[in-house]
Structure formats: structure tokens, C-alpha cells
């Protein structure tokens, strides 16, 4: 299977702290890969180096082209969009504007064209409107109707997470990086988000790399699971292989005291 995203010996350090070390990772087209690991394992740093917020050592290729050193907005435009663990919506803009803002890179009307409503500006604005409706429609009733014109700050926590995903979809990306999409959600919403991630692939054809702590979600969605600790890959494989891997258990729970005595 062709790899959409390839990480080749990727390293990144904050001063003396090695957040990522010689990490290799491949994500194939239409695959859902989960990244797990204890706090501080380097998961979010991994997302930050892929999206260009940090410049790492090693090489990252997307669709065969190296993306290391490119500015974040270019990387997103090539087809990698992300959500944020800490929710970074444009809070004072409406729900629909949040989604529309993410189409900036895909549109080209100059300010003058926009002021005068010249043909290209009008056509693009129509397309943006359609795309926004389409993307928000993917979430069913949750982000529909009167919600379109509500400011993002008035949304509930779960709806903010949905809007983050909608915004990432609107960039026109092929690969979505979801940073803890189920964090802070109740069991019902967690179940819903699990289904949603599945639908993102089956209905929209996205490739997905997801960081998640909730093991039910990870089990429910992943083709493959990658376990990180101290910036290095412990192991990868199916959920059950990884979940029963002794090093993974050790990373999460600490060393078995009986094993130490032997």
C-alpha cells in the first residue's frame, strides 16, 4: 500500500529534552492510525512537527514530497489539517465563518476583487458557502440551522470539538490529524465521536492519524496503533498486539515489581 505520510528518522528536542527521537512512521492512504503513549511521550510534538509549527531533524514526506521547513499554512494547503487538543477555534467568529476561514488557502480573489464583487470573488464565495454547508452538514443536527450564525464561544464543549474537525475538513485536506478528539466528552459523546471518525474515512475518504487516550475509542477505530514513550516508538501493530505488549504496559503502569525481584 502506498504511504501518504512518511516520517523518516524524525527528531526534535527542546533544549536538552528529546521530545522525538529518530521516529519512523508511515500512514497509508485511507488508513486510521492511532498514536498512544503516556503524558509527555511526544504525541503532540509529533503533530506540531508534521504541521510545521516546529522544524524537526530528519525527513517528513507527504504524498512523496518533503514538507520539512515549509511554513504551516503551506503544509495544510498540501493536504494535512489538524485539530487542537486545547481547542483553538476563532471564538469571536460565527460557526460558519470558522469553517469559511479555513478555505483561505484554496481561494485566490484579491481584496480589490472582493470589494468590487468581481466574477472570481463571487464564484469563490459561492463555492466557499457550499463547502461550509457541506462540511457542517456532515455533523447532522449538531452544527445545523441557527447554529451557523452563532459565535463559536457560545458552543458547548462537544460541539467545539466537532467544529474543530469541521474546520480541518474545510481546508480541503486529505490527511486529518486529530489531537484527542474525545477528551472531555461524556460516554455518549465519546461513542458518537468514534462513529464519526469511522464515517470520515468511509464517507469522505480521509486518512486519519489520531492521538487518543480513551482506549475504547482507540480499539474502535484503529487499523493500526503506534505506542510512543520518551519520543521513541515502543511498538506498533493491531490494537491487541500493542495493548498486550510488555513495554507498553510498563510505560503506562511502571515495572512489575515481581519481575524486578527475579
Amino acid at each position: 500500500m502506498a504511504s501518504l505520510l512518511e516520517l523518516d528518522h524524525v527528531s526534535h528536542a527542546f533544549g536538552g529534552l528529546r521530545a522525538l527521537h529518530e521516529l519512523d512512521l508511515n500512514v497509508a492512504e485511507h488508513e486510521i492510525v492511532s498514536v498512544i503513549g503516556p503524558n509527555g511521550a511526544g504525541k503532540t510534538t509529533l503533530f506540531n512537527v508534521i504541521t510545521g509549527i516546529y522544524k524537526p531533524g530528519g525527513d517528513i514526506r507527504f504524498d512523496g514530497k518533503s514538507i520539512v521547513g515549509r511554513p504551516p499554512h503551506r503544509i495544510t494547503q498540501m493536504g494535512i489539517a489538524r485539530t487542537f487538543q486545547s481547542l483553538r477555534l476563532f471564538l469571536n467568529m460565527t460557526v460558519k465563518e470558522n469553517v469559511k476561514a479555513a478555505t483561505y488557502g484554496g481561494t485566490h480573489a484579491t481584496p480589490l476583487e472582493s470589494m468590487l464583487r468581481l466574477p472570481r470573488a463571487r464564484r469563490e464565495e459561492r463555492e466557499v458557502e457550499e463547502r461550509a454547508n457541506d462540511v457542517l452538514g456532515f455533523f447532522g443536527q449538531r452544527l445545523q440551522g441557527y447554529r451557523h450564525d452563532q459565535p463559536a464561544y457560545s458552543l458547548s464543549y462537544a460541539n467545539r470539538r466537532r467544529l474543530e474537525i469541521a474546520r480541518a475538513m474545510a481546508t480541503g485536506a486529505r490527511l486529518l490529524l486529530l489531537d484527542e478528539p474525545a477528551a472531555g466528552m461524556n460516554p455518549n459523546e465519546t461513542h458518537e465521536i468514534t462513529e464519526l471518525i469511522g464515517r470520515l474515512r468511509t464517507e469522505r475518504g480521509y486518512t486519519i492519524l489520531v492521538i487518543e487516550h480513551d482506549m475504547h475509542v482507540v480499539e474502535g477505530i484503529s487499523d493500526r496503533v503506534v505506542a510512543l514513550d520518551h519520543g521513541e516508538k515502543l511498538t506498533e501493530g493491531t490494537f491487541h498486539e500493542v495493548a498486550n505488549h510488555p513495554e507498553v504496559i510498563e510505560a503506562y503502569l511502571g515495572r512489575n515489581p515481581e519481575a524486578l525481584q527475579k
Binding site: H73, L89, M93, A102, V128, Q141
Partner: protein
């Protein structure tokens, strides 16, 4: 239609609120009338107002009101939309004015080379000046990219002040130094020229309306969304395909162009330019317009520009400024003192305290109440036996001013009934201070009053008159 869930019920809570009839009517009108008809109404009002036979002063105020509305619109691009605290904005206003002065007058090189200056028509000068301002805006924007928040504010403030300093201190044969440049050409093109203030008022109105339309379009386009996205969260904007740096520089540049446009109109109307026209005072006034009206909105910026200019003019007339002062006191009392029975106690107490104090002081020393109130007209005569104004009121007024500030601080610190009691003498002291000292110095009083108006707005409507409430990201 899907069944109504809890969310929907919450969203419709506004519909269930009982409203008074006139307010309900206002809401309905507000919903029915779109943005473009409103702009049309504004344009119509602007033109009709010019035909009302205004006297010279009224023409000046009308022109300035529209000019400040334009300036506030430009500042709104940088501060309200892109969220960049640019304190160097005033320099672009000056750049536009001096640019016009150089290209459309005798001034350019005339004192050195005796060339007779460059007398380009306005249709040529203005585009040149706007392009130059746009380029300088890009340059300043590129510097500003490295800075954010407070640092951006401080550095741009220096840049803005540097403009006035440079203009003042370069060889007077180039930019006129502190004598300014004068006897500029009026707007002239195709054989005609505009000389009257009223003429420039109409020019400014047309520019304002066109600018509002253009900015409205821009606000709803990809550029407007990008600016607001950068304001709300630059990091998120960056990974949502928005080139943050380019978008910020563009905002600087657009703000600069609008300010420069206002500068050219200003220079042509005033027929001269001086470095002091572009001092920090003017900058603060433009910020006051934007804050008062509501940053982030076109209508707010325009309303703020008009309100601040008109208020400033009212404050230079003793009677009008008295109306503003006493009106403000009454509004604050009515808005803040609750329940009503407290209000019913406080107002008679303020009135009674004054007459009692006047009677007692008058009985002790006749000279202590020999002065007359500063206010003229019926307010002055009504307060004749109310305020204590000695014959020589200057020193007394200065001391009273300090006492008033101490009393105000005390009122702010106290709580509950004590505050209510403290309000009574404080208001009386403020009235005495106003009558004895503040009306005598309209220049300073105007600034104090605009400050007071802004404080009242902050309490009543922190988002500004027409602004929408905004949340800040933690």
C-alpha cells in the same frame, strides 16, 4: 423540521422575553432593514444635512465628524479586525496630508530650487499618495511582525511620534518645520476646484460612503475572515491555510491607505498642514472614536467618529458643555442608584446639601460666595444660590479639583449604603468644581469629559455603542 430540543429552546429564549412596544418595534425594524438600505439612508442624511444652511462652525464640525469617521474606519481595520494595537496610525494620516501638500502646492523644492512647486491635480496626487502610504504601511508592517501585544504598541507609538519630530526638525525649506506648509492647492481637477468647507464635507461624505461599502464587502470576504481569524488565534489561523504574516502586513497597509486618504482631504480643506495636526492627542481621539463606537464593526467606528467630534464641539460651548455635564451626572445616578427609593433620597439630598452649604458659608463670610457660577444662561442663574464660588475662584477651584478626585476615589472604594452617602457630597463638590474652575478652561474640560464619557460607556456597554461583545482567549 426536527423536533425542538433543549438547545433550540435556549436559542429561542430571546423570543420569549417580554419587550416594551417601542423596543419591539425597534427590533423588528432592525431585523427587516438590510445593510445596504441603511447605507443609503446614511448617505441621504449626509447630503440633506449639508443642505440645512449650516453656519461656518457647524460646517467645520460636520466635516470633522466625517473625517474622524473615516479615520476610525481605517484604524478599525488594523485594531478592530486584525487585532494589532497600532499606535503609529497617526503618522499615516500625517503622511497623506504632507504628501498632498508636497505634490499639490508651491512647496516642493521651491525654497531651494525655486521651481515654483509641483501643482498636480487632486486626481493625480491622491493615487500617488495612497500608493506611497500603502508601501510605507507594508514596511512598518514588516517591522511590526516581530512584535506582538504591548511591544507592538510601544514601538509603533515611537514610529508615530518620530513622524511629527522629523517633520518638525528637518530643514524648514523642505517641510516647513514648525511653520508648516500653507497656501496649498485646493482639490482641483478637470478645470474645477473645491474651496468651501461645505464642498469638502460632501467630498468626505462620498469617500465615507464608498469606503463603508468597500470595507463591508471586504469584511465578508476571505480577507476579512482571515483578519479576524488572525486576531482570535494566530497559531490556529496559521494551520488553517492562512499566511498570518502576509495578512497582518496587509492590514497595516490598508489602514495606512485609509488614513492617508483622510490626510489628503484634511490638508486640502485646511489649506495647510502643521506637525501639531498629527500629535498623540489626535491619535488618542481616534482611538476614543473606535472604543466608544465599538471596535470590530463598520457602523460602530463611524458612529464613534461622529459622536466624539460632536461631543468635543459641544464641550467648547459653555451652555452645551453644561448640559453634557449635568446630563451625564443624571444618567449615571439614574442608571446606577437602585432601588428607586434610594434615588428618591439621593437627589433631594444633593439639592438640599447645596443650598444649606451656600446659606451657611454665606452667613459666615460674604466674600466666600461672591463669585458667580461659570455656567451661563438659565443653568447659571439656577445655581446662583447653590454652588459656593468665591470672588477669586482660581486657587479655590484647583484645590476643589483635588478634593473632588479624592472624593471620587472614596466613592469607588466604599460599598453599599456608605457609598450612597458619599455620593451626595461628591456630586456637590463636582458641581462646585465645574462651576468654579472647569467651565473656565474648555480645552482641558473637553478631555476630562470625553474620559468621563468613556468611563460611563465602559460600565454600561463595554463593547462600545454598536459593538458586539467579544471573549478573549486565555
Amino acid at each position: 423540521m426536527a423536533p425542538i430540543g433543549v438547545d433550540e429552546w435556549v436559542a429561542r429564549s430571546g423570543d420569549r422575553r417580554e419587550e416594551s412596544r417601542w423596543r419591539a418595534l425597534l427590533t423588528r425594524v432592525d431585523e427587516r432593514v438590510g445593510w445596504w438600505p441603511r447605507l443609503g439612508i446614511l448617505a441621504l442624511v449626509g447630503f440633506i444635512y449639508g443642505h440645512l444652511g449650516l453656519n461656518v462652525n457647524e460646517q467645520d464640525v460636520a466635516f470633522n465628524a466625517v473625517l474622524y469617521a473615516i479615520l476610525a474606519l481605517g484604524l478599525n481595520i488594523v485594531v478592530g479586525w486584525a487585532g494589532l494595537l497600532d499606535l503609529g496610525y497617526i503618522a499615516f494620516f500625517g503622511l497623506g496630508a504632507y504628501g498632498y501638500a508636497l505634490f499639490s502646492s508651491h512647496a516642493f523644492g521651491s525654497l531651494v530650487l525655486d521651481t515654483g512647486g509641483v501643482h498636480l491635480p487632486a486626481v493625480a496626487t491622491i493615487p500617488i499618495v495612497l500608493v506611497a502610504a500603502g508601501i510605507v504601511g507594508v514596511a512598518v508592517g514588516l517591522v511590526a511582525l516581530r512584535l506582538s501585544g504591548d511591544y507592538l504598541a510601544i514601538v509603533t507609538l515611537f514610529l508615530g511620534q518620530a513622524f511629527a519630530e522629523v517633520v518638525n526638525n528637518v530643514d524648514p525649506s523642505v517641510l516647513g518645520g514648525s511653520n508648516g506648509l500653507f497656501a496649498l492647492d485646493r482639490f482641483h481637477s478637470f478645470g474645477g476646484q473645491i474651496t468651501s468647507t461645505l464642498g469638502y464635507y460632501y467630498v468626505a461624505v462620498i469617500v465615507l460612503i464608498v469606503l463603508m461599502a468597500a470595507l463591508h464587502m471586504l469584511d465578508r470576504s476571505r480577507t476579512g475572515r482571515a483578519w479576524r481569524a488572525v486576531r482570535d488565534d494566530p497559531l490556529a489561523a496559521q494551520v488553517m491555510t492562512i499566511p498570518v504574516n502576509a495578512v497582518k502586513v496587509m492590514a497595516f497597509s490598508f489602514g495606512a491607505i485609509v488614513a492617508a486618504l483622510a490626510g489628503t482631504i484634511f490638508a486640502a480643506q485646511q489649506d495647510s498642514v502643521f506637525a501639531t495636526n498629527f500629535s498623540a492627542n489626535v491619535l488618542i481621539l481616534i482611538y476614543a472614536c473606535l472604543v466608544l463606537g465599538g471596535a470590530g464593526g463598520i457602523a460602530g467606528a463611524v458612529l464613534g467618529g461622529i459622536v466624539v467630534t460632536v461631543a468635543q464641539d459641544l464641550l467648547t460651548s459653555p451652555l452645551d458643555s453644561a448640559y453634557l455635564f449635568y446630563g451625564l451626572i443624571l444618567i449615571v445616578l439614574f442608571a446606577r442608584v437602585r432601588p428607586w427609593r434610594y434615588l428618591a433620597a439621593v437627589i433631594p439630598a444633593i439639592v438640599g446639601l447645596g443650598f444649606a452649604a451656600h446659606a451657611i458659608v454665606g452667613a459666615i463670610s460674604h466674600t466666600a460666595v461672591a463669585g458667580s457660577p461659570g455656567s451661563v444662561g438659565w443653568i447659571g442663574s439656577a445655581l446662583r444660590h447653590y454652588v459656593i464660588v468665591p470672588a477669586n475662584s482660581l486657587t479655590y477651584g484647583n484645590i476643589l479639583y483635588v478634593v473632588m478626585i479624592v472624593a471620587l476615589i472614596a466613592v469607588v472604594q466604599l460599598k453599599g449604603v456608605r457609598r450612597l452617602i458619599a455620593v451626595v457630597p461628591t456630586v456637590y463638590i463636582a458641581i462646585c468644581c465645574w462651576e468654579a474652575r472647569l467651565t473656565v478652561d474648555p480645552g482641558i474640560t473637553a478631555q476630562i469629559m470625553i474620559g468621563a464619557i468613556l468611563i460611563v460607556i465602559m460600565g454600561a456597554r463595554p463593547q462600545g455603542l454598536l459593538g458586539t461583545r467579544r471573549v478573549e482567549i486565555v
